[in-house]
Point group: none
Chain length 143, copies 2
DNA sequence: ATGTTGAAATTCCCCCAAAAACATCTGTCT
DNA sequence: AGACAGATGTTTTTGGGGGAATTTCAACAT
């Protein structure tokens, strides 16, 4: 279970330091993928394989499914944090999320997310103001 | 399981260097064939034979099925990477996929794909929008 | 409030492995 | 026999991964 918001830097080699609170859960591996709203999703191996199973069911013969599958798998990277809690992010993922130096790592329950700091600031400002409105619309989802 | 996106060059003899992360899985052989959307599909021997079985089940009476089967099998080539992790691609396959010098090798779960760099750039840009659409739907399914 | 201790974060440096260019060998065809 | 095309091997360079050291921060106790 990932909670909280943490500021970090990316080093010259494209590595992020994981928040200390996330280390234990991710110690034996993690998977990073292209997420929604231009951020990266970070899953534990268990969560990932659930996802993977769903995707594998998609038919090879459907063109949209192919496009999605390609994006999904090619935009994914397995990794293990080193002894200092760092994970290296492949170039294509950094490009996708527009990560430069300042990043924000947030906990979102089952997964963590990595954002470019600026993008996150903007996004959270926008959604915070409409927080209760959004909540209203979610009422139908049974929360 | 193949994941990620990797840039490589084809040498003068028509050989591609396989990404280091794919080597182990392909060490004891691989099958390359004409893929969909002008790229090449690369399978492990195991995955290939699974596919072969599926294709055999297709009705011989369907004209499209016949055409597909012909392309798929006639364009296939078995190979083994050398000690440095290189695979040589037959001329006809290189022509098919329009491979010059810069290629992109991507992991797509059960298979890998080899793309001409330019084509891949274009394709992934075009399909990115459908990615987030589908991802959103999947996210709605509680993933 | 201040000093002390420990852990986390940032920077630096080294080494190994992977890429890319370069070179050699073999066989076949003319 | 020579030349060419194909495949296989070798060398050098570059980039990335990993470790270590220094600094910063935070928590705690005096």
């Amino acid at each position: 279970m990932f909670l909280g918001e943490f500021q970090h830097l990316i080093d010259g080699k494209g590595r992020v330091i994981l928040p200390a609170k996330f280390r234990e859960e991710l110690a034996d591996g993690l998977v990073v993928t292209k997420g929604l709203e231009d951020c990266l999703f970070v899953y534990t191996p268990v969560e990932w394989s659930k996802l993977e199973d769903k995707i594998r069911e998609m038919p090879l013969t459907n063109q949209n499914a192919r496009a999605f599958t390609r994006n999904f798998f090619s935009g994914a990277a397995k990794g293990t944090p080193d002894k200092q809690g760092r994970v290296s992010l492949p170039q294509n993922l950094r490009d996708y999320a527009g990560l430069n130096k300042d990043v924000v790592v947030i906990g979102v329950g089952a997964r963590a997310e990595i954002w470019d700091k600026e993008k996150w600031t903007k996004y959270s400002a926008e959604t915070e103001s409409s927080y209760s409105e959004i909540a209203e619309q979610l009422a139908g989802l049974g929360i």
